[in-house]
Every structure is written in C-alpha cells, then in structure tokens.
C-alpha cells in the first residue's frame, strides 16, 4: 500500500472511528477529568484506594490465568484438528465453537442448574450440596472464562495453522528437526500472528469481562468494581476514571504483548497445500484425539446444556435431580409465540448483518494500513482498533444516547421527520445500534484480517501489480481470496457477538418494535415465576440459530468446518 493511499484510508477510518467510538466514549469518560475545571483527583483515587488497586491486580491475574488456560486448551485442539482426520471431526469442529454463543441472562441460570448446590452435577455424583460456585473463587472464574473464550483463540490458531506451507515443516523434518522441537522452532513462530490475534482478544476480554465474576460472586476485580460504581454515575464522576484506567491498562497490556510476542511475523510465499498435511489418526491417537475433543466440548457445553434443559422443564421440576421430573414444550410456545419475539429476531438480524458488513469494510481497510503500509502511525491505528474491547458496553451506551439527544436538539433535525427517524434513538435506534454493534465488534475483524495479511506474502500482490492489475483488482482477486478464512472467522465472531450484544441493546432500543433479541430475552426473564424458563427457551432458539449459521456458513462454502480456514 503506497503512502498516500495509506494516509487516505487511515484518515477516513480514523474519522469513522472517532465519530463512532472516541466521541461517545470521551463524551462520557471525559467527565472523570472535569470538576469545575480539569482535575486528576478521580484518577488518583483509583490508585489511592487499596480496594481498586487490588481489583486491578486481581483482574490482571484473571486475564493472565484465563489466557494461559485458553492457550492450553485451544492450541492443542487446533493442532490436532489441523493434523488429523478422526471420527466425528466435522461435528466436533462445529461444537467447539458453540461455547461462545451462550445467550445472556439465562446463561447464568444454565450454569447454576448444573453447578448449583442442588444442581445436576452434585445430583449425578451424589455429592450432596457441594458449593462449587461459592468455593471456586479465582480458579472458578478463570476456568469458566477459559471454557467460554477458547473458541476465539481456536478459530485464530486454526486459521494460522491452515495458512502454514507444509513445505516449511517438511524441510525442518528433512533437516532432522522433528516432534516438539519442530513445533517450537517452526510451527509456533509461523502461527504467532494467529496466536497473538486470538490471545490479545482473550486477554483483553477476560481482563474486562463482567458476567463471569458476577456469576462466581468474585467482586474484587475491576470490571465488577466498574459495574458497581457505574450505579453512582449520577452523583459521582469517579466511575469514569475507573473506566479510563481499565481502558488504559488494556491498551498498555496489548502494546506490551505486541512488543514481546507480536514482532517478526513470518509470511508465507505460497499458500498451504492442505491435503498433504492432514492424515488419519491411527492407533492410540484414533481414540485419544476424539476423546479429548469430547471432554472439552462436554465440559464447555454444560452451561448450554443447562439452558436447553431449563427451557424444557416445567417450573420447579428441576431440583436436586440430574434431569427435570417433568418436561414441557410450553416454554417454547410462550417464548416463540410472544408478540415481541418475531420483531426482535428481524431487528437483530438486520442490525447485526449491517454491522458485520461495516465491520468487514473497515476491518480490511484497517488491516491493510496496519500490515501493508509503512506509515508511522500504523502502530497507533492498531492499538486504537482494540480499544472497543476494553470499554464496558453501558459506558458506550450512555455516550451514544447523549450524542443522539444532542443531535436531536439541532433545529434542522427537530424540524425534519426523516432526520429524527435517523438520529433520535427515542424514535428509531437503528443507526446507533448498528454503529454500536459495528464498533464494539470491530476488534475481531481487524485481528483476523491482520493475522491473515501477516501470513500472506506481499510478493503475491506485487506480482499482480507487476502484471498490470489495479490495486482494487488485486485486492478483489488476490488478497481477499487469500485471507477469506480469516475474514470468515472474524465475521462469524462479529455476527455472533452482535446478535448477543446486551448493554447497547438494553439502553438504546427503547420501544418494543425496535427491540433486538437480547432485549426480548431480558424482558421475558423479568417475568416473575416463569420468566427464566421462557427466556431460556428463546435463548435456546438464539443458540440454535447461531450454531446453524456457523455450521451453515462453512457448508455453503462447500467445505467442512475445519476446512474453511484453509482458503
């Protein structure tokens, strides 16, 4: 990418990012630095109060622990999937991704039905009322987070492994470097972009994740403290300073990680001849490999199983037993038949689809700047693209709301029905929801596209240019096909997480006709008595839809799930 194009793309994307992310963020967080004039007292308070310092320390411990555990789970799985064919492989490869599509609110209920004191696990093993949730503490948090986040790293590492030219490893083997030494010296450096891409997302996600610490009652960590203090934002500006610290630390850790692990990516001169790398698992491996996949899938999907069984239970019938005493389909009739449901499904599909398209365009553009340009600010652009991962959704939601109100009060907007439809979330939240979804899920797309470009040699694009192809033609015919696997991986993540986005959905979609599906799940969950069962039924629908989409996307591409990473 030449310098002027890089600057143009950077300027456009930065402008979009500034309006869609930085403006609402600083609209809100800037308050933490203003109190009758500029002040650092709120920021200083974060470090003066030992509770918050401990919270930061614990969050870092969670992030390191989760990332390490995720690496231990995802890398061997991705490696085995890349090297072996074994019984049930297509199914396992699909199931491995399902943990990331646990629906909100009811996910905690599913987990509780499984691991609660009167949950199915205790009932199955006759353990009595063992308090897994109460006793698990730190280890509970990292295990639960690792089991829900490993698909992110798995997707990225699988894509990276698929991009490795087997000739590299064969050459190493010919020179006597085999086994783990070959993995460490050849394979690992070659998949480092993918490992880094997935690892950073997992790290920042687990550093800022709120849901799991809340489920495990682990309150002394920064996300839980931010959540706690956000309730005071009407009267105190301290929460903004805490958000700022969490944001800065996330970026700091990202930059440090990039400095330590992300340098010196190795690009491939040619793409992998995939057929030669995969062989049938034989002997002990034929048993061991599917066994490992089964164990990981089973444990990781227990909360999902909990949601599914809850959705089929009669109220009160699943209690101190492995399975409910009475099953019913009434919850599905109530959930799917509800007036809110159909409209919310249509809305979610619309918002998420537009957001993913926007993600693809911006993500590819950013990735080109980061990988293919030489401009000095590309490192900053890279870090900037990761920022949305580190900001609590509710903070962004407040920002979008404030901006919408501000714009809606311009005279031109007030007097135009069309402009009010576009800019006033109270009338129609579509624009702001799409922006929110697109911006908050942008890091997945950027990381995936960056990893793909890093593994693809620029000489292929240069060859195309030498033969007279225009830049756009090269992009369309050479570059994008070479990184399709990465783009699909990023788009799938972005789509799935957009469909399951909570904070923006709850705050910005105020009228029933604009509710996305997560808000409908929330509304149904609030119904006293039967709420959790009906919400679980709709949650299952969402899981099935997303699972079918992920599996369908791979099948419609004419390849099996594992093979989509080998474009």
């Amino acid at each position: 990418m030449n310098r002027s194009t890089a600057w143009i793309v950077t300027s456009i994307v930065t402008a979009i990012f500034a309006v869609g992310f930085l403006l609402p963020l600083f609209w809100v967080v800037g308050g933490g630095f203003w109190d009758k004039g500029f002040t650092l007292r709120y920021l200083a308070e974060v470090f003066r109060n030992p509770i918050y310092v401990e919270g930061l320390f614990n969050s870092l411990k969670i992030a390191f622990g989760t990332t390490a555990l995720v690496t231990c789970i995802a890398v061997p799985l991705a490696w085995m999937a890349n090297r072996f064919d074994f019984a049930g492989k297509p199914l396992f490869q699909g199931l491995l991704l399902v943990p990331m599509i646990l629906p909100p609110f009811v996910g905690a209920i599913g987990f509780q039905q499984m691991f609660g004191q009167y949950g199915a696990v205790n009932a199955l093993f006759g353990l009595g009322a063992v308090d897994w949730i109460g006793n698990a503490r730190y280890f509970g948090v990292i295990v639960l987070q690792a089991l829900s986040l490993y698909p992110i790293l798995y997707l990225n590492v699988a894509a990276a492994l698929a991009n490795i030219d087997p000739a590299m490893e064969q050459a190493a083997a010919n020179l006597g470097c085999t086994g783990f030494a070959r993995f460490r010296k050849i394979t690992l450096p070659l998949i480092m972009p993918g490992l880094f891409a997935g690892g950073t997302i997992v790290f920042i996600w687990s550093f800022t994740e709120l849901g799991t610490p809340l489920i495990m009652n682990y309150a002394r960590c920064t996300p839980a403290q931010v959540w706690d203090s956000l309730k005071d934002i009407g009267s105190s500006k301290f929460p903004y300073a805490l958000v700022f610290v969490m944001l800065t630390m996330s970026i700091g850790m990202y930059v440090l990680g990039k400095f330590v692990f992300g340098r010196g990516a190795h690009a491939m001169q040619s793409k992998a001849a995939t057929a030669s790398t995969t062989r049938a698992a034989r002997g002990f491996a034929a048993f061991l490999v599917p066994f490992i996949f089964t164990v990981v899938c089973f444990i990781a999907l227990l909360p999902h199983l909990g949601v599914v069984v809850t959705s089929l239970s009669s109220p009160g019938s699943w209690y101190r037993s492995v399975l409910p005493e009475q099953f019913t389909t009434q919850n599905y009739a109530d959930a799917l038949g509800h007036a809110m449901t159909v409209a919310s499904i249509k809305n979610s599909l619309l918002y998420s689809a537009i957001a993913v398209v926007a993600n693809c365009v911006i993500g590819i553009a950013l990735a080109f700047v980061i990988v293919r340009s030489k401009i000095k600010v590309r490192g900053a652009v890279d870090a900037m693209a990761m920022l949305p991962l580190a900001v609590p959704g509710i903070v962004m939601a407040f920002g979008y709301l404030a901006i919408s109100t501000e714009i809606s009060n311009f005279d031109t907007v007030k007097q135009s029905a069309l402009l009010r439809q576009i800019f006033d979330v109270k009338i129609n939240p579509t624009l702001f929801l799409v922006i929110a979804y697109a911006i908050r899920r942008l890091p997945y797309m950027v990381r995936s596209a960056v990893a793909g470009l890093q593994q693809t040699s620029v000489t292929l694009e240069e060859a195309s240019a030498n033969l007279g192809a225009s830049g756009f033609y090269t992009l369309r015919r050479i570059t994008i096909p070479l990184i399709t696997a990465n783009l699909i991986a990023g788009a799938l993540l972005a789509f799935a997480f957009s469909m399951l986005e909570v904070s923006d959905s709850l705050m910005l979609a105020q009228q029933q006709q604009y509710f996305p599906i997560t808000k409908t799940i929330y509304e149904l969950f609030q119904l006293p008595g039967t709420g959790k069962y009906i919400a679980a039924a709709l949650g299952v629908w969402a899981m099935v839809f997303l699972a079918a989409t992920i599996l369908g996307a791979s099948a419609l591409l004419g390849k099996k799930m594992g093979a989509i990473f080998r474009a």
Partner: protein, 604 residues
C-alpha cells in the same frame, strides 16, 4: 447439493419457527387514539396489562381509547441517568437559543438536587429557570410519565426538578380526589404520596428460605426475624440485595437498624421499671419530650442533646444504633453476595443455591409458588420448597410511585393515566386473578398475567369503616393473595412498626455508604474474621468485639485544610455525608474496616 439444501432448510426452519408460533395480539386502541409516553422499569406483564386496561378505561371515561408508548431502558439507575442527560441537553439548547451564554457548570446545575452556591448567580438563574418552565417545546425529556421504581428514585427526580404536579395539590380532578382520599401521605415513616409523586402499589421486605437447605444445614427452627440471618450456620448462604443500588432496599436496612434501636430502648425502659405494655407509649412520650427540648434550644441544639432525665434513654438509642450496625455487619458476613438484581435472591433460594435471603414480597411469593414440586398423590399442589415470610418486629412498607415529568408532551392523557392508576379499576390489576369478570361479563382484572402486587388503596384491605370494609370484601373475592391476612395487609404490617425520624432519618444515606465499606468492599476480610470469630461454630466474644469496633479515621472537613480524627457513631454518622468528601471517607472507612477485620482474625 443435498447437503446445502438441508442446511438452508434447517436455517429456514429455525427462522420460521417464531413466525409459526406467533400469537395474534388484541388491538390496544383504535387508530388515531391519543398516545402517552411512559418510561418504566416495570416488566412486560405489568406493561401489557396497564396498557390494555388503560385504553378500556379511557374509552369509558373520556370517549376514546388510548395507547401507551413504553420506553424501556433498564432499571431505575438507567432511567435516572437518562432523565439527567435529556434534561441537561434540552435545557442547554433552549438556554442558548435565547442568545444566553451557557455558564460553566451549567450541565450539572440544571439537574442538581440542591441549588448552586450563592457566589454563582449565573447558575442560580439557570437553576431557577429550569424549575419554572414546563413546556414540551423548550425543556423536555420527550416522556410524559415515570412509572415504577422506588419512592427514593421519584423523590430524587423531584429534587432534581424533573417532576411537576399534575393538578394543584388542593384541587385535584374529581377522579383523582376520590382516589387520593384512599391513599395516605406517609405510613410508618415511608412517603407514599407527595404533590408530584403518587404511590400506587406497595411492597414489603421479607425473608425467604429453602426448606431443604435448612435441613441440610441442620437448622430445625426456620428464620423468623432479621436477627436470625446473623446465625453463623448461614455462613455464605444468605442472599442479600445491594442496598446501595436501590432506595427501597436501603430503606429496609434502615428499618432493620431502627428495629434494633427500638429493642435497645425497650430493654432500657424495662430495666428502669416500665412494664411491657407501657414501653411503646413511654418511647412516644420520650420522643415528644425530646422534640420539645430541641425546639426550645433552637439553633443551639446539637444531635443527641436531651433533657437530663432522658440521658439513659438516649444512651440506649445510641447503643441500639451500634447494635443495628453490628447486625448489618453479621448479615453481611454471612452474605453469599450483594446483588443488584431484584429477582436473583428469590430465584437462588428457590433452587437451593442460597439457604435464606432478603427479598421483596412479591418476588418471594411468586417464586415460592413456582418453586413447588410437581403434584403427588399426597401433595396435589406440589411440595413446598421455599417459604416467604414477613420478619417478626415488622418491616418497612415502601411504595412504587408514578410521577408526571416536566415538559410532558402529552400532558392531558398523562394526567388521565395517573387517575387510572390510582382508581379502583387500575388498582385491581395489581392483585386480581387474570380473566376475572363481573356479573355483566366485563373484564375487571388483568387479561393475561397475575401481577401479584399489593395495591396501595386503603379500600382493598380490612377496615372498621363500613364503606371501606364493603369495598375490601368485594375486592377480596377476586384477589390472588389473601388481602385479609395480617402478614400481607400492608396497613397491618406498617402498624407493627413505629418510625421515629429522629432515630435514623438523617442516617439513611450514611447507612448505605457504611454497608458498602463495612460489608461489600471489605467482604473478603470480613468473612475471614467471621470464620475466626466462630471456632467450632460457636461465637468467640473477644473476636466479635474486636470486629465490631467502628473506625476512627483521619478526614479533612470541607473548607478545612487539616485532617482530624473523626469517630463514627450515632451522633456523628450523618455529618460524614454533609461535611466530608465521599471518596475520602469511603477510602478511609474501607481501609479501617479491613485492618480491623485482619486484626480480629489474628485474634483480636
């Protein structure tokens, strides 16, 4: 090819399912019917029933149906933030459109709950203007009504200037006048009605417990009072809702402390020879005497000053305050969590993930009903698993209000909605069985959902006044809950409790902060000390005494430059919120409590 077709078919089927199951909805109102916009944390069941019933009522009383445009953005915290943002932005647009300069600090001033300082006349002018204007085209949040939440949130909205009177307080509409005659202003220290805020449903705080979990814990006597939740056998088994997140929950904590102060006063009076049946009258007389003493001292009065003959009584009140804090601390030590979710405690207790919990009555009753086991020949209604009860000694009875918002774009219809909510027809929705019809086959209750909330109107409950009793008898036959039950009747529950504002009225805010510092921010150290304080499950008084020492912290008073030691007790507690920086005293308290607990865990 077939595989692709199959995948598409599966996806199509998944997407088509909700369309196939979709139920047709009754039309709420005819096209062109007037609309009101309501912001509310109420759930979908309440929204559905009130929207449909209001349209029917409006047609009967005003000739047309009416539509409700609900705005749902989450809980009361989100609503409060939303209102602040909307009013601040529209006030700025209106102010600057007149060619006036927007002053520094203007955004905070227009939504502040107190007037700006006297040295900022520009802010005072803005603050006053904001409270005088009521025009949807100038300053408005584009919403008519705030419906639901706690009285704390609505009073807060009033203090910030968001609420307006729907009609002059002494001249309400005839429909409103009929309803307001049935709703008292204050009950047992709780505000149920002001000129801008109208309570329409009431709730109490109570205890839920799981019968099976109690058996597991070998607890044979179920909990009956708040004191029972301090029993160490409930360690990490008590579900508690976070009092810092909700005004009504904070009120329940205040009442808990208040109750301990009452106990201490009773003990003191009995020791001085007052008989049991004279205790309450003596307390009332003492408080009257102290009020008179306070009035006689004028500006020179200081908190805690009493006539010399009441010094021992006053000491008992102050001791009771410390007992109350100790009880909060003990419950906090047993707490499994402090959740901000209104439903979590009752759900967790119903599935046995907490043995016992503090929860709002209707969540407790609803969940207890749905937590029952499947019917069996011996128990055709299903086995009881969870029980909800009102604690011995009483509890606060708080209300869910409705407030008309400043600059309401559909003010007239909004006033009608308030009339409806307070009317008998509106109140029935809270408690009647779904589908209840009168002799003329008219629907008189909710259509679809049993809301199981308690109406606020006096005439839904037993009374010695014949007209009210007659109305109660009529309502009783349709109600889901037994409105004659004294453990349900909020007017009876409130009677168990006499609230003396002098005791804890000024301590409301600081009790929230204290609970946070003492129990939530120092939770881990508190639990460790609590375990050490109960070797073999029995309390060690030495360690407990060490844990209960309230901190003396170094703080700089606002306007001072030097930090001085400040003790925490009944007399000083309200000064913290008024005289010291919130972040500073919270930091100091949290550090001090953690240190106290660590010391106690080392053996006192």
């Amino acid at each position: 090819m077939w595989k692709n077709f199959l995948i598409i078919a599966v996806l199509a089927l998944v997407v088509a399912l909700p369309f196939a199951f979709r139920r047709s909805e009754a039309v709420v109102a005819e096209p062109g019917a007037p609309t009101i916009i309501i912001i509310s944390p109420h759930n979908e069941a309440i929204r559905y029933e009130f929207a449909h019933a209001f349209s029917r009522w409006h047609k009967a009383h005003y000739g047309t149906g009416a539509k409700v445009d609900w705005r749902n953005i989450g809980g009361t915290t989100e609503i409060s933030r939303y209102l602040q943002g909307e009013y601040a932005t529209t006030a700025k647009a209106w102010w600057t459109s007149q060619g006036k300069r927007w002053p520094d600090g203007g955004t905070d001033a227009v939504v502040a709950s107190r007037p700006p300082p006297a040295d900022r006349p520009d802010l005072i002018e803005l603050y006053r203007a904001m409270r005088q204007i009521d025009d949807p085209n100038k300053v408005s949040c584009s919403v008519d009504l705030f419906f639901g939440g706690g009285s704390y949130d609505h009073l807060n909205a009033y203090q910030r200037g968001f609420a307006v009177e729907p009609w002059p307080p002494n001249n309400p509409t005839p429909l409103a006048a009929e309803a307001l005659a049935m709703i008292p202003d204050k009950v047992a220290g709780e505000t149920w009605r002001t000129p801008t805020m109208f309570g329409n449903a009431v709730s109490t705080f109570g205890i839920v417990y799981n019968i099976d979990r109690l058996k597991d814990l070998e607890i044979t006597v179920p909990p009956a009072s708040w004191d029972d939740l301090a029993d160490f056998r409930y360690f990490r088994q008590v579900g508690v809702t976070d009092p810092t997140k909700s005004g009504s929950i904070a009120k329940a904590f205040e009442m808990l402390v208040h109750q301990k102060m009452h106990d201490a006063a009773r003990t003191e009076l009995k020791a001085s020879g007052v008989t049991d049946d004279q205790v309450d009258a003596t307390i009332a007389a003492n408080e009257k005497a102290i009020d008179a003493y306070k009035a006689s001292k004028g500006a020179g009065y200081q908190r805690g000053d009493v006539p010399p003959e009441l010094a021992a009584y006053q000491s008992a009140i102050e001791r009771g305050f410390l007992d109350g804090i100790a009880l909060v601390q003990s419950i906090g030590a047993n707490a499994r969590y402090f959740t901000d979710s209104a439903t979590k405690v009752s759900i967790d207790t119903s599935v046995g993930d907490a043995a016992v919990g503090m929860t709002i009555d209707f969540y407790g009753r609803f969940q207890a009903q749905y937590a029952k086991g499947p019917p069996t020949p011996t128990e055709p209604n299903g086995a009881e698993r969870m029980i909800f009860l009102s604690p011995v000694g009483g509890t606060s009875v708080s209300c869910d209000p409705i407030t008309l918002l400043r600059g309401a774009p559909n003010r007239k219809i909004a006033e009608h909605f308030i009339e409806f909510v307070l009317s008998s027809e509106g109140q029935r929705l809270w408690t009647y069985q779904p589908g209840a019809i009168d002799a003329n086959h008219n629907l008189i209750g909710p259509e679809r959902y049993a809301l199981r909330r308690l109406p606020i109107r006096r005439d839904f409950y037993p009374s010695t006044q014949p007209a009210i009793e007659a109305a109660h008898v009529e309502h009783k036959q349709w109600a889901v809950d037994d409105l004659t039950d004294p453990t349900i009747d909020p007017y009876q529950i409130a009677k168990q409790f006499t609230y003396y504002p002098r005791w804890t009225g000024e301590h409301f805010g600081v009790l929230r902060d204290l609970t946070r510092a003492m129990c939530m921010d120092s939770a881990e150290e508190l639990r460790d000390a609590w375990v050490i304080a109960h070797p073999n499950g029995n309390p060690d008084p030495k360690v407990l005494d060490a844990m209960r020492k309230l901190p003396i912290v170094m703080l700089t008073k606002k306007g001072d430059s030097e930090a001085k030691p400040v003790e925490l007790n009944w007399k000083t507690a309200p000064n913290f919120t008024a005289n010291y920086d919130y972040l500073e005293y919270m930091r100091a308290w949290t550090s001090a409590f953690r240190e106290t607990y660590r010391k106690a865990a080392r053996g006192g």
